[in-house]
Symmetry: C2
Subunit: 479 residues, 2 copies
């Protein structure tokens, strides 16, 4: 009965209480369990399977650009963390400290990595000597720890899972090109695989990564109109190289500092998947990333021939490369349908005695509940097309939602009114001063999300102070 | 020059100093780097790529038996670790303690997981209610921390990478079957993929896992005659279930305790790969697990047509499914060959102007240095066969080495003499008493490796005390 209890209760409507809806989906789609460890969650099989697919696809895209995977230590000695001033100031307040090991108090405390720039620098310092050793493009898949006071599964947890890429280059130009290249990989991945349209841009100095010269970001818009930073790529210039002494001898045998980048995407992106595509029936997964794409549902399965035909259909779909399962449990069909919908499985194929007699099955799309009768012997050919159509429709819908929730503000009154009343992004001109950024946050709770790569001039003066404008900025309330 | 310095120096001969040979290979094949974090190593790209292949293959085999992956927290609260008495006694002395987080002293200290039985139990307690929820077969890929005073890459490090599977079953029989099933998966994986023959058996009570009813193990023999425990599978009975209160209602609606197992294989197995197959030229990787199986070596590559032909060969091999690279660096061929040998790449294909004229290439096997002239247009067909032959030969060689290093001892003098003078396993009868096990270790430094599943009676009395014998045991010095 445990299984049933979890799924039968209706979830909170998203219009009524979006935050509660989110929590309900995360728990009832069995993506996550809360653990006894404060701030830490468990990724259950359904949640981890999504992460596995994300890892697999991103890893392939990274390796195609020459990235190699490594595994770095979990711990960072305090003295190493302190080597780059801005970096330690950014992270020290939120780290966990190991002070005892093997029954003894440690001579130097170790932090559990919140990110691994310092460890990679420490390695690069040792293994880079000549221009022939460059570039180095390493990545690792791991979990990191940043102490949090509140917990929201995927969005804000003390421990989270991610990849962190760290590269070292001979020139500033190469480092800049790599920073942009990786941001583009994240953007393409989000759009192509997750059906999530994103805005690409640069973070302001206030919002950039601790120790970076510049941080690039992709920002996505959730169903409730809040923004979610979905992946970042940082150009460090030679700042870390100078702090750690990472030098190479160039072709003229002169010592030069390397230029570095780092870039990361985390399990946070699963939060985006849920909040961009989900609905009041639960999770809606884009077919390309869904661990199970199709659930075959035998109807009246005790009747002769039904289970056999359903199994045949399942096998034919599997052979066609579809990730398919069959639900032949004893639950009633309505129940099974609700479960499949809650779990976000993109298609179900209903197959009962009458369907078999008629030689057709009913295919139901998760995203729009559209039903199509498909001849049974055409299922293996048609279903991959229907999955692709669903993927495209989900992207188009998310894109339309994004575009219809971007507002231009030319005056500060208009800006404040928009932030207060229209969930979404507000585009406005900015003078570049921290003071205005802080005032805007203070007045509206909106933060600068990014200075988009595609700059336009929608006005000549800063929306906040009226001084000459330097940049167009996307502002918004954010997760 | 950094690159060259690392590889050009000759490594220590394995006959001269096996421990130094091992360290040389690990460093010069660029598998591992030592980190500034005491006891922790870095898996460099060449080392991590082996681990990726191991993970990929094991994961596939696990999933084929219904195992699902999850991700559990990195931390275990002290009170949770203490719930099972034997378990905490086994692990508490070697854990790392987090005592501060987010700038504050924690109300309860957290250990960095040394293994995750307690976390899985804590989850299972919540999600198992009915017999319908069973079995649960979860696994995770992660790193764990056990404080070590000495460091040997792959063999003994404070942090290491592994998988840990944790299952819960309705009956004792099912748990026992799963324990054996997973041990067999490890054994088959070692023999089929790593070309490492193993002895399967049960650990004595002294050597079993802290909290287990029984521990099964696979033991491999290294080139120097020492044993390496290469994978273990534990049956917990209902001990953890009683400590954590993990109960389900059976078909008659009666509450029952679950029966549990856990099983793990770690990066330690890479140490076995090195020490079973390596030679004085460096690493020797079995083709099925090697990240790069073939290195194409253009000779006199400045001459017209050489690089073109070599690229064609590389592309044809890649198309045939071979993991192939081409070394077209400016180094001289002797140098390139040494590097390829040091890195353990199973085959090289030498291709120079004369070869091209004659329409043949020279294929050189890493394991036995055997050279074969193969018509260039037959390479794509022949090389997969040569790789398979090499895989088989490596297994046969390791198997012959194992079998020729197993000795039977009928008296204690014979036993002591064998341990002292003949590296390998000693088979001897044992009365089952801890006292004899301790005495043997004290007298000889040999430990009981396992009570093999294939029991024989090679005598009637314990080799140590002369009392009636209960079990045949494999003894040996071990890593």
């Amino acid at each position: 009965m445990a299984e049933k209890k979890k799924l039968v209760q209706a979830i909170t409507s998203m219009e009524e209480d979006f935050a509660q809806w989110y929590t309900d989906v995360v728990v009832k789609a069995e993506l996550v369990a809360y653990s006894t460890v404060k701030g830490c969650t468990i990724l259950k099989p359904a949640g981890y399977a999504i992460w596995e697919n994300i890892m697999h696809e991103l890893d392939k895209r990274f390796k195609a650009t020459g990235v190699e995977n490594v595994a770095m230590p979990l711990f960072i000695p305090e003295s190493l963390l302190q080597k780059e001033k801005d970096h330690v100031e950014g992270f020290a307040p939120e780290v966990a400290w190991v002070t005892m090991g093997g029954g003894e108090v440690l001579p130097e405390r170790l932090c559990v990595r919140p990110t691994s720039e310092t460890l990679f620098c420490d390695l690069y310092k040792d293994i880079i000597e000549s221009y022939r050793d460059l570039p180095k493009c390493y990545n690792q898949w791991c979990s990191v720890v940043r102490w949090e006071k509140t917990t929201r599964p995927f969005l804000r947890t003390t421990e989270f899972w991610w990849q962190e890429g760290h590269t070292a280059h001979a020139t500033a130009e190469e480092a800049e090109a790599r920073t942009v290249q990786m941001l583009n990989i994240y953007a393409d991945f989000c759009e192509e695989m997750l059906a999530i349209p994103v805005i690409k841009g640069q973070k302001t100095d206030k919002e950039k990564f601790a120790g970076a010269e510049s941080t690039y970001t992709i920002e996505a818009l959730m169903h409730d109109g809040k923004a979610l930073q979905s992946g970042t790529s940082h150009n460090f210039g030679d700042g870390f190289a100078r702090a750690f002494g990472i030098q190479y001898s160039d072709k003229d045998n002169k010592l030069q500092y390397v230029h570095q980048t780092s870039w990361g995407m985390s399990t946070r992106i699963i939060g985006a998947l849920i909040m961009v595509h989900g609905d009041d029936s639960g999770l809606v997964l884009p077919p390309r990333i869904a661990p199970t794409q199709v659930m075959v549902m035998p109807i009246a399965q005790h009747k002769p021939g039904v289970l056999e035909k359903a199994s045949e259909v399942r096998d034919a779909l599997a052979t066609a490369g579809v990730r398919v399962k069959m639900d032949d449990s004893e639950k009633n069909p309505g129940w099974k349908f609700s479960e499949q919908e809650m779990r976000g499985i993109p298609l179900r194929v209903e197959l009962g005695p009458k369907d078999i007699e008629a030689g057709t099955a009913v295919v139901v799309r998760r995203d729009n509940h559209e039903k199509t009768a498909v001849p049974i012997d055409e299922l293996a050919a048609r279903i991959p097309e229907i999955l692709e159509a669903e993927q495209q429709a989900m992207f188009d819908r998310a894109k339309a939602h994004l575009e219809s929730h971007i507002y231009d503000a030319l005056t500060y009154d208009e800006f404040k009114d928009t932030v207060a009343n229209k969930p979404g992004f507000v585009r406005a001109m900015w003078c570049g001063d921290l003071a205005c950024e802080l005032k805007i946050k203070e007045d509206t709770t909106a933060t600068s999300r990014c200075m988009p790569f595609r700059q336009e001039r929608i006005g000549e003066t800063c929306v906040c102070c009226g001084k000459p404008a330097k940049k167009l900025v996307y502002w918004g309330k954010a997760y």
